[in-house]
Symmetry: C2
Amino acid sequence: MKRIKMTVAYDGTNYCGWQVQPNGITIEEVLNTHLSKLLKEEIRVIGASRTDSGVHALANVAVFDTKARMPGDKISFAMNQRLPEDIIVQGSEEVPSDFHPRYCNSVKTYEYKILNRTFNIPSYRLNTHFVYVPLDVEAMKQAAGYLVGRHDFRSFCTPRTQVNDFVREIYALDVSKEGDIITMRISGSGFLYNMVRIIAGTLIRVGSGYYAPEYIPEILEKKDRNAAGPTAPARGLTLIKIDYPLDEDEITD
Amino acid sequence: MKRIKMTVAYDGTNYCGWQVQPNGITIEEVLNTHLSKLLKEEIRVIGASRTDSGVHALANVAVFDTKARMPGDKISFAMNQRLPEDIIVQGSEEVPSDFHPRYCNSVKTYEYKILNRTFNIPSYRLNTHFVYVPLDVEAMKQAAGYLVGRHDFRSFCTPRTQVNDFVREIYALDVSKEGDIITMRISGSGFLYNMVRIIAGTLIRVGSGYYAPEYIPEILEKKDRNAAGPTAPARGLTLIKIDYPLDEDEITD
């Protein structure tokens, strides 16, 4: 028995998110089906990030155990012969049997992309959120600064979330503009349900002048979802990477 | 009666190209249908570039005549309320009644995008051509240099094309790389059928080492389609812009 870590990129447009659910097809389900056929045993992957319906990934991580003899690094090639063109394995490798994609100190990086111009561009519509009101990027940068660090993010979390601790740490939150595209890049050890999209929706309100940047600390203070902006649409969000810190053994290696 | 010039962006993935044809839905047909409904008269647009099935555009040009009172610049907004999300009008304006989108000295600029890495990325798959063989961009640049200028491009044209004159002028042909994306940007007054995609397919052969850059003048010399590389897939091609030179009246205006 060996444990395999697979890095997976997908266009989330046509999927009901990562996690298996009764009402529609999911990334996890497609991976389970094709891995099971390929390796001729029932495979159940564990995902690092259970992305929502419509959210994309360049590098989500899926882990599974297998008795199959196929070398870990060959699984990516074999899987890409079978997968639909909107899910592509970017790499696979054998990992220690105690590696779990969620229960370790990983750093997740997401990007939220906004297309900011008078009219939408069809080729960009699946991966960016279109906003026609001109956005003030400097104000958005200033607002983002207030969110970096360790805070209670209850105001930036969908109310129905079943967690006890709303404190999370944002390591970095950068807003940049290139041409008509505004990119919000955020890194942290973990995020609450819809947190990244609510931050994006709130920064868009700042950029449009609806909120002053200085209102952000007040939103955090209120610990109330109604104080923040709307949840920005899924299509603008992409999971860019998940970094797993080296443990001491690997560092001294 | 007034003549309207409309700039149109589209994702060509789900269309059988620009020109109306019996076997599938086309961009021209969708524009005719919605313009006719909007303006309550039968409208037939004339397109500047009759792009192929699967080819995209940021700014193709469609021209039509109408008796409707709606101001020229308002037509874009009204049309975008009606069009599907993969066709979006970028602007509309009244033009002189003798303006024809094809019979004048315009400059067309296309980009062909290649994603060059080990595995494809799902989010890029509709707008780039994926090539896993590492491509030598410097060799491609050198090869491109031989194509710039006025040449008989018979070797770079689908044989069934019904034209008498195969001489065309390429004003600029630049190859650049950013991250994993190689972009071939080409400008000219006009191109033969499939010419841009055959040039792309030929430059990919140069990049992969299959052709030496110095073989390009020989391909031109041969005036034989079989001498050049394959027609690269439509999905990588986007019509970027069409520049119409100002006539003297406008310059002195």
